[in-house]
Amino acid sequence: MFYREAGQFKSTYAADMAVFPIRQDRIGIAVILLIAFVAIPMLGNDFFISSVMIPFLVFSLAAIGLNILTGYTGLISLGTAAFMGVGAYSCYKLTTYFPGVNVIVLVLVSGLFSAAIGVLFGLPSLRIKGFYLAVATLAAQFFLQWAFVRVPWLFNYNASGAIEVPQRLFFGLPITGASASPETRYFVCLGLVVVLTWFASNLVHGKIGRSWMAVRDMDIAAELMGIKLLNAKLLAFAVSSFYAGVAGAMMIFFWYGTAEAADVFNIRLSFNILFMVIIGGLGSLIGSFFGAAFIASLPTIMKFGLPALGVPLTGAAAEHVTFMLVGGLIIFFLIVEPHGLARLWQIAKQKLRTWPFPY
């Protein structure tokens, strides 16, 4: 009744190819953006913004990055956390060398370093694919994690081996460091995520995205159609690592503030991001957001929601139950909907389209 495209005619190819061809979708995205930019900062308290929303945004961006590689190009990677680490460390080094440059610019530039490393570790994808490649990307994970601990230059020879984010200003307002307010950091993250999502959306809907999907669906056929596998695969690795790197830099600069790589960018983070992509939906940008919301907020909900409901769970026991529940839910969702939450979203939209007269 409300969600119907009847009467919305498309008179140009450009209109037909639009990312949101239905007017209600455009209204929906505007409402979401309005909520994100206005309602949440006004209504949410500091705890909600800094421990729910900022992690959600960071993980969404990382999940989009991995989705470009795994969902769109069909190359499984288990090294996402390491590429996030590259972003974080290069941003730290950059801001040490260029303290005057705006840190938001540096966050984006550090994504380029991550992209370069990603291309390097993406080279095996030209010979192997599937699980062999997944295991090969573990080489990146372990090697880079080792480098973060063993190369003291990366953390400025700090005795603690951790990176501590200095205070940086943005038009006179502190956006990183201890004195930055959660709202400011949230706005910076949100802005970056919105812009990069828009960019990713255009990328995957365009020629490049189509060539990635062709490679995913059948690489030999794609090659016969004139797509250069070398370029397509390495570009996917580069873009994916770029997103992961930006997400990693955001994670340290706008969320953690200080970090030891061995603790943060470990293999469990890589797996978590892969979960987000698969639970959310392979090959779907909105699925990345769903997956990030699901995986990133589940532990927080379990931690603070269950005691509120009267289930007395504390400390270690709660952690164990969280593990069991996450495991169970992963299996449950895979059985119920192997195509992820994004598919459920599509089904809901389809149902809404014919509602209330389905026949």
Partner: protein
Amino acid sequence: MSDVAAQPAPSLLANGWIKTGLIVAGVIAAALIGAQLDSSGTIHKIFVDPFQQMVQAPDLLAQTIWEGLVSGVLYALIALGFVLIFKASGVFNFAQGIMVVFAALTLVGLHEKGVPAFLAVFLTLGVMFVLAVTIERVVLRPLVNQPDIILFMATFGITYFLIGFGESVFGGNPKQMITSELYLPKGAIDAKILGGIVSFQKIDIAAAIIASLMIAALAVFFQYTRIGRALRAVADSHKAALSVGISLNQIWVIVWFTAGIVALITGIMWGARSDVSFALEIVALKALPVLILGGFTSIPGAIVGGLIIGIGEKLGEFYWGPLIGGGIESWLAYFIALGFLLFRPQGLFGDKIIERI
């Protein structure tokens, strides 16, 4: 298919092994020439010095190789569990590492509750069987015919579940493996070899013997029993096996149970060397490069790959590790495996995947 006669005669370089050999020989020659040019520089340290050390102290070399061999056996055992399941059900079972921990924890936990050691072993086997049946019922059967990556993710779910379950039942702190109750030997044998003393832990020798016995038993089981034949049939083709009346569900339970037995033995061996704790899970990831090296579908590959990775890793750590700060064990295995991959993408013994358009 094109006419054979029409094809050009295969060049000598087309053979992967010859090409590999030539490249390796070239690298060694270049390194030696380089080492002659500067006798104390980096090249000397990388390419000459470690070998000089090896020749000068052969006892140390023997000790290092033995240690590599032992950890290689353990990697091979974990990889074996992976291979068994991958062959029979096409599932890349990420949970194998956690199954090792879970089996060992169950054994130790049962013994702590006062169950005699050998009864505890049988009870643990029972638990592993229940686990296999549950996994087949709850996870594999509903997900049959889904893409590989979905099944792979499902084993992640199993991993998480088992971690939470094991920790809430048995507690998270490290436990001591019941070695003496299981009549596993302790202590070390010091042997005089090559002008020095090389010490062999008795438990390592036992581990090597038990692992060989188990692999032999598995080989006999696969080769000469009815179920073994069915397992091989399923590994060859699911559809063909189904069409001759082999029950896939039954086979999957058997295979997961077999992997559970392998996990228990691995858990005992590994637990005897260090504590039984969930830290083993990360170590179990070391079995993955073994798989790349050996191929996902080959049991001999898992064994040979495990030994190569184990020895290569220990040698690399001992002789080359100090050059770049040590601790290279965590990633060296992956680089060894990647080096092999460049020349043989399907692993040492893996099936060559032929792709048609």
